[in-house]
């Protein structure tokens, strides 16, 4: 933000910055919270950055509806098509490297080079996942040699609507690392961005809106984790939940609530307090967590 706080007696600034309004991203559109609320997002030094929308349970509900609506089309798209769509997002991100570097710096307080490295890693991660779209079925599928005259094959299928509690500390790289693996295989997501550092995620939604990602495939809410997450965890039309960004004690409660409709629950592998190292190769775990294996039998005869 090219904005400085003026003290009395200072010379007036050059040009006044036109500040961005940070809204929710639901169903491909940018609504404010239906509650009308917002909250102050500060930089790493505590200075004012922006007012972000403070999502309510109704926003969460609407986001789930949008995600469910988008699921049929997104999961029925060819894998090739999904890969292309995701790759395009990476192209647009690349074009906005400078913007995102500045956002990440302001949010997390990283140095210039560090922030650049984070943005580069985020873009590369997006590209990596895009390339998985048309391969995961081969790695995860199988033709099973059953002991009888049957053709039998297993294929991975997306589980449906995935709620994601994005990592608290890693506002862009961490965000990308939890969202991309869910959607590349055909799931749709409702993501609750980092409570403390939501802005890079919201800027990312601008990229999504101008790429070919269909509305509703990725929905982003900003607000209080403890307030919104329980509504997602207990929602009966959500098929899976990623608890990465939830503190341990909250995560326990969320996992219990998730059991009501037996959501597939992904809990961070690391112990309480320690942050996941997002620079490490992610492996397949986050994609597999939201895939169902379907096995089909058919007799082979004349």
């Amino acid at each position: 933000m090219s904005d400085t706080v003026l003290s009395p007696g200072d010379a007036p600034p050059g040009r006044l910055a036109v500040r961005k309004t940070y809204k929710l991203y639901i169903g491909g559109a940018f609504p404010r919270s239906e509650s009308g609320r917002s909250y102050v997002v500060t930089d790493h030094k505590g200075g004012f950055l922006a007012n972000a929308a403070l999502a309510s349970r109704k926003d969460a509900r609407d986001a789930v509806v949008a995600a469910r609506k988008a699921f049929a089309g997104w999961s029925a798209a060819t894998a090739y098509n999904r890969g292309q769509v995701l790759y395009r997002v990476a192209e647009l991100l690349e074009g906005r490297r400078a913007q995102f570097t500045a956002e990440v710096r302001a949010a997390e307080g990283l140095g210039a080079r560090q922030a650049e490295a984070v943005v580069d890693a985020a873009i590369d991660r997006w590209v990596w996942y895009a390339g998985w779209a048309d391969k995961i079925a081969q790695v995860r599928g199988a033709s099973n040699p059953v002991a009888g005259p049957f053709f039998n094959f297993s294929l991975p299928e997306p589980t449906g609507v995935v709620a994601v509690i994005a990592p608290e500390a890693s506002s862009l790289l961490g965000f990308v690392s939890v969202v991309a693996p869910a959607v590349v295989t055909g799931n749709t997501v409702v993501v609750l961005a980092s409570e403390r550092y939501p802005l890079p995620a919201v800027s990312l939604t601008e990229v999504l809106a101008t790429s070919d990602v269909p509305g509703g495939v990725i929905n982003v809410l900003t607000g209080r984790t403890a307030e919104v997450a329980p509504w997602l965890a207990s929602h009966m039309d959500v098929n899976a939940i990623d608890l990465t960004g939830a503190p341990d004690s909250l995560a326990d409660d969320l996992a219990v609530a998730a059991a009501e409709n037996l959501k597939r629950v992904l809990r961070p592998a690391v112990e309480d307090g320690a942050a996941e190292d997002w620079t490490q190769p992610p492996g397949l775990k986050r994609m597999l967590a939201y895939l169902e294996t379907k096995t089909v039998w058919h007799p082979t005869g004349t």
Binding site: P149, F150, P299, T300, G301, T302
Partner: protein, 313 residues
């Protein structure tokens, strides 16, 4: 299948549509059902009943180029008295011979109630003119056969000329009239698929068959449980929609009592007990009879028997 289709109007295409419109048969499923029924355990009193019933359903067969009057006399004697040591053993249902020996067979079994089945229509290949086939059938009737086992034209069937196959059966039916009952041999080993077996069964029944028969015994595979299953389903469904009962005869490859009993179980649990009668179910066999007699003896005496105690023919 809803109302009976009148396909005698001669339009070959409606016959084809009907036959191709019959439900398909899943081979794996049909084989599994046949195998499950073959695992039924038929013991003691049930076995006794089944052995006697099987004997009474046999068409004792000799269909060899080298058949002589002597051979035919021998099997007729066996047909009348399968087990010389045991007069309680039932008679068989029929003897089955080539038409030029039917006259002799008829004389031998006269008055016993045993039928004389003669093959006809250029058995076993069926590859000759219609005129020759009809003459063959007529010859069999005049020789005294009261059952005619005809073969269908498999070539025509596989070429899709169902109308020709139908017309030939109908023509033989006409020649045979009420003098004999008509068994139509489908030669399922050459039709190969169970879908074809179903279609050929329906075609034969619509054309007037009294019995549908699996095989000539000259081609392998001959009778099998899955094929017979499909044929039993066909006669069951045909009676339900057309009101006429048609019999089934598996022939060839049925050698042991165990096999025969499996066929009876198949009949019992597929078409039902109305078919558990020599008038509606026959088994075309030759060496089977002795195995049935051996099993029968074992049940009666408790001892395993041996071939020396049963006549070759």
């Amino acid at each position: 299948m809803s109302a009976p289709v009148d396909i005698r109007a001669g339009a070959g295409s409606s016959l084809r549509e009907f036959l191709h419109g019959l439900p398909g048969v899943d081979q794996v499923g049909a084989e599994a059902r046949a195998a499950m029924l073959a695992s039924r355990s038929i013991k003691t009193t049930a076995k006794q009943w089944a052995l006697d019933m099987a004997i009474s359903m046999i068409d004792l067969t000799t269909l060899e180029g080298q058949d002589t009057p002597g051979k035919v006399r021998a099997i007729c004697a066996k047909a009348k008295r399968p087990d010389p040591a045991d007069p309680t053993a039932p008679q068989v249902a029929a003897v089955c011979v080539y038409p030029d020996l039917a006259h002799l067979a008829a004389a031998e079994v006269k008055g016993t109630g045993i039928h004389v089945a003669s093959v006809a229509t250029a058995f076993p290949s069926g590859r000759t003119s219609v005129e020759v086939k009809l003459a063959d059938a007529k010859y069999a009737i005049e020789a005294g056969a009261d059952e005619v086992d005809m073969v269908i034209d498999r070539g025509a069937f596989l070429a899709g000329d169902y109308q020709l196959v139908y017309d030939e059966i109908a023509a033989v039916r006409e020649v045979v009239e009420d003098a004999a009952h008509l068994k139509v041999i489908l030669e399922t080993g050459e039709l190969v698929t169970l879908d074809n077996v179903r279609r050929a069964s329906w075609l034969a029944m619509l054309a007037g068959a009294d019995f549908i028969k699996t095989s000539t015994g000259k081609v392998s595979p001959a009778a099998t449980l899955p094929v017979t299953l499909v044929m039993l389903e066909a006669v069951r469904d045909f009676r339900a929609t057309h009101g006429r009962q048609v019999g089934v005869k598996p022939a060839g490859g049925i050698r042991t009592a165990k096999d025969a009993i499996r066929y009876l179980v198949l009949v019992n649990e597929t078409a039902g007990e109305d078919w558990l009668d020599p008038d509606w179910f026959r088994i075309g066999a030759s060496s089977l009879l002795n195995d049935l007699l051996m099993q029968r003896t074992k049940l009666a005496t408790g001892r395993y028997s041996g071939p020396d105690y049963f006549t070759l023919d």
